[in-house]
């Protein structure tokens, strides 16, 4: 990827990160504090457990005085100089109420105790895992402080409540999609991840917890980690199968889960060695994993830019920025900055929610489409197939026609054409004999008739074809002084014995008859048909001449008869009849019954 392309695809990223940074900064400064003149100057002990503040000289003039505590870890109780409690909220004993993330407002009702110069005492209580501190305390008229209190409450409590509610709601919705489509595991993992996140965020809302502080302190970072790994698992299922019909990186995902669970164990056994807590390592680990995922998303986006990937990338960077912010806040001593990650998480989970719902709706639409259009689709496909079949059929027919045409041309060329050429040659000779020319032309016509007869649909029966041959040849046989005996009986015509094969058969018969007329020296020809002992039909041409001499060299005529017989799958047997009573040609036709074929 060259620089120009890199700039085009990722040019927006630094600007976006800068924007996120500035946004985090702005949100950090968002404390909704009252006017500076109401701020109380606190004097505290190093332990952070006790603070004192002197009442201002103007205390008597303040209408309905009240105290506003914006930041305390974890809880505070306020006492007048005379030792009576002025205000407090929740338990100061273990388990201490957790008021770090909510503002506290105490009305100071005891006007008698509010004398200028008197000391107010703030006693702070904290859990075993957090250092006690108190900051940003204001003393002023309740009307003035109430506004700041309410805004702080809205920002630090109500907003988080809304986020948690939205997360749980989307978890419920997507979770029910998983119930409908159990195979879609991404829905399940989305619901798990979202629920875990909601549980994590509820840390900011829960004031009194039913379990031990130490365990709670381990659970909170664990929840965020599990939620993140669940989110990665969701993406793993969301991306779907690759072209090999499997999911890549399945092994890596299992390793990630294992590593996360193993690394989470020390969260529940705080080592408390010095200032560095184990949560720092944990957060570093999560940031690393998340950065890897983000790098993967970057790589994906670099390969192909689409809305889905862009959305994931935007959310991912928001989470990273706010997450790092929160990690810094959590590790900074006495920090009063609010946590921000849940906003980015909300953004991310909403984006995922949008993608999943979109996909869900798309698949619903698709199934609806198929439900209503299935019949039409099947009908269309059937029609297509039918058309293809018709096309193939037409092509086959045309091929058959072309083959037949070619065959007829060849037949006309071989027979009729040959006779015409030899007639022409005959006419060019000086001693041309008109009788020979006439005979030649009659042969040509005879051959043409043979071709036409073979094409006649009605003559596709062998006996009729032989009959037509007889009517065409009778004159020639008579003129040669021969007598024709006709011994035709019905024989079976083999299947597929069409015009071409009939013509071949007729030409064999014609050749045999011509041979008998020219060479036998006899005066009678017998053509007969019948069925032999094997059930095969045969045609037999016999003469009463001298037979074929032993010295006879098989010439062109006999060779062509054998060749033609081979073409129609018939056996041909040429022999002399016993006792010098003539020659015989027997053509045995192929049989339909394979058992009879020999």
């Amino acid at each position: 990827m060259n620089f120009r392309r890199l700039l085009r695809v990722f040019g927006w990223l630094p600007l976006y990160l800068l924007g996120l940074y500035l946004l985090a900064q702005q949100l950090d400064q968002l404390d909704f504090a009252p006017a500076e003149r109401w701020k109380v100057e606190l004097t505290g002990e190093p332990s952070g457990l006790v603070y004192t503040a002197r009442l201002p000289p103007t205390i008597g003039e303040i209408q309905e005085p009240a105290l506003l505590v914006l930041n305390v870890q974890q809880n505070v109780a306020v006492y007048y100089a005379n030792g009576t409690q002025a205000g407090g909220e929740g338990s100061m004993q273990t388990p201490v109420s957790r008021n770090k993330h909510r503002p506290l407002l105490f009305r100071l009702y005891d006007q008698a105790a509010l004398r200028p110069g008197e000391l107010l005492t703030f006693r702070v209580a904290t859990t075993s895992t957090h250092r006690a501190y108190l900051q940003n305390v204001y003393l002023g008229p309740v009307a003035e402080l109430k506004q700041s209190f309410e805004r702080n409450d809205l920002w630090r409590q109500e907003t988080v409540k809304a986020v948690v509610a939205i997360l749980l709601l989307t978890a419920l919705l997507i979770g029910s999609m998983w119930v409908v489509y159990p195979r879609r595991k991404e829905y399940l993992w989305y619901a798990i991840s979202t629920s875990l996140w909601a549980a994590h965020s509820s840390n900011l809302l829960a004031r009194d917890i039913p379990i031990d502080d130490a365990i709670w302190a381990g659970i909170v970072p664990l929840l965020i980690g599990l939620s993140m790994v669940s989110l990665i698992t969701m993406v793993y299922y969301y991306v779907g199968l690759n072209k090999h019909r499997s999911r890549p990186y399945g092994r890596w995902l299992r390793h990630l889960w294992l590593a996360t669970l193993v690394l989470a164990v020390p969260l529940f056994f705080p080592l408390n060695t010095g200032e560095v807590s184990y949560t720092l390592i944990w957060e570093a680990y999560l940031s690393l994993v998340f950065s890897l995922v983000l790098a993967y998303l970057l790589w994906l986006y670099g390969r192909e830019q689409n809305t889905r990937r862009l959305l994931m990338l935007l959310c991912g960077f928001a989470m990273l920025t706010f997450g790092v912010h929160d990690a810094i806040v959590a590790q900074t001593k006495y920090s009063t900055s609010p946590f921000l990650l849940h906003f980015a998480a909300l953004l991310t989970l909403m984006a995922q929610y949008f993608l999943l719902v979109r996909r869900f709706i798309y698949s619903l639409r698709q199934s609806q489409y198929y439900a209503t259009h299935l019949e039409t689709l099947v009908a269309e496909r059937e029609q297509e197939l039918e058309q293809r079949y018709q096309q193939i059929h037409v092509m086959e027919q045309e091929k058959a026609k072309a083959d037949e045409r070619e065959r007829i041309m060849r037949d006309i060329h071989d027979g009729f054409g040959g006779h015409l050429v030899s007639t022409l040659a005959m006419l060019e000779r000086p001693d041309v004999s008109l009788l020979a020319v006439k005979a030649n032309i009659q042969d040509a016509l005879g051959d043409l008739r043979l071709v036409i007869d073979s094409l006649d649909f009605d003559s596709q029966d062998i006996t009729t074809a032989l009959g037509m041959f007889r009517s065409r040849t009778m004159r020639k046989i008579k003129q040669a002084g021969f007598d024709l005996r006709w011994g035709i009986e019905d024989i079976a015509t083999p299947t597929g014995f069409g015009a071409e094969k009939i013509l071949q058969l007729l030409r064999i018969v014609q050749e045999a008859v011509t041979n008998s007329l020219k060479h036998s020296g006899g005066n009678s020809i017998t053509i007969s048909t019948g069925t032999d002992a094997n059930g095969r039909s045969f045609i037999q041409i016999a003469d009463n001449g001298d037979g074929i001499p032993a010295s006879y060299q098989a010439g062109k005529g006999l060779a062509s008869m054998r060749k033609r017989a081979g073409k129609i799958g018939a056996d041909i047997d040429i022999c002399n009849l016993p006792a010098g009573s003539g020659a015989q040609v027997r053509i045995t036709l192929p049989t339909d019954n394979p058992a009879l074929a020999c």
């Binding site: 036409i452 003559s459 006996t463 009729t464 037509m468 041959f469 065409r472 004159r475």
Partner: protein, 209 residues
């Protein structure tokens, strides 16, 4: 034969026309009435002269010989109609028989063959070829009421379809040659009737009548 058979020839090929004309003129049995080469001339000749035999080609310059055959058969049912066929292509012969012809001759038949064919027809017989017989067997199936073949007619047709001559078929069935050829002529008539019946049925089916 006391009276000469009067013949009309319709043929557009001048060589063939000349050949047949000279055959008829040379024969002691026939008298040539008209030799022409168009449907129009032939049609006029049919009305103006009483002929016994019509010899006609099918492809004529001003129309189809089949129409001429139909006209002649309807107007003069007693007339013997013969079609002149170029190659004995059976489709044409059968069309002519359906139109009313009862015989055919080939263009290259020699003198004796032509003469005997005409005489045979005038004597009440008809020539036939195995292919025509085979076609008739398929067309005139026994179940067709309008043209029911008799047993003998069927047997004669079957023999001829296998290549036996009319004479051989007559011998095998112990009937005279004349009877055999008369059977064939009857069969031709039945084909004609059957064809007309089919035409009427087709017309009724198509609501033309």
């Amino acid at each position: 034969m006391s009276k000469l058979t009067r013949v009309i020839i319709v043929e557009d090929d001048p060589e063939v026309l000349q050949r047949f004309t000279s055959m008829i003129v040379a024969s002691p049995h026939f008298q040539l009435v008209v030799a022409c080469d168009t449907v129009a001339d032939a049609s006029k000749a049919l009305d103006n002269f009483q002929a016994d035999v019509l010899l006609t080609d099918l492809g004529l310059p001003d129309g189809n010989g089949l129409d001429l055959i139909r006209q002649a058969y309807q107007t003069y049912p007693a007339m013997h109609i013969m079609v002149i066929s170029a190659f004995g292509d059976e489709k044409h012969v059968i069309n002519a028989i359906e139109a009313g012809a009862t015989g055919y001759i080939l263009k290259d038949d020699d003198h004796a063959e032509v003469e005997s064919a005409i005489l045979q027809m005038c004597a009440g017989g008809s020539p036939i070829s195995p292919a025509v017989a085979s076609h008739l067997l398929k067309r005139l199936r026994p179940e067709t009421d309008s043209a029911n073949l008799t047993k003998t007619e069927l047997e004669v047709l079957q023999l001829i379809a296998k290549g036996f001559t009319a004479q051989e078929a007559a011998n095998m069935k112990y009937i005279s040659y004349h009877t055999a050829t008369s059977h064939i002529k009857n069969i031709y008539r039945k084909l004609h009737i059957s064809t007309r019946a089919e035409a009427v049925q087709e017309a009724i089916r198509r609501r033309l009548v």
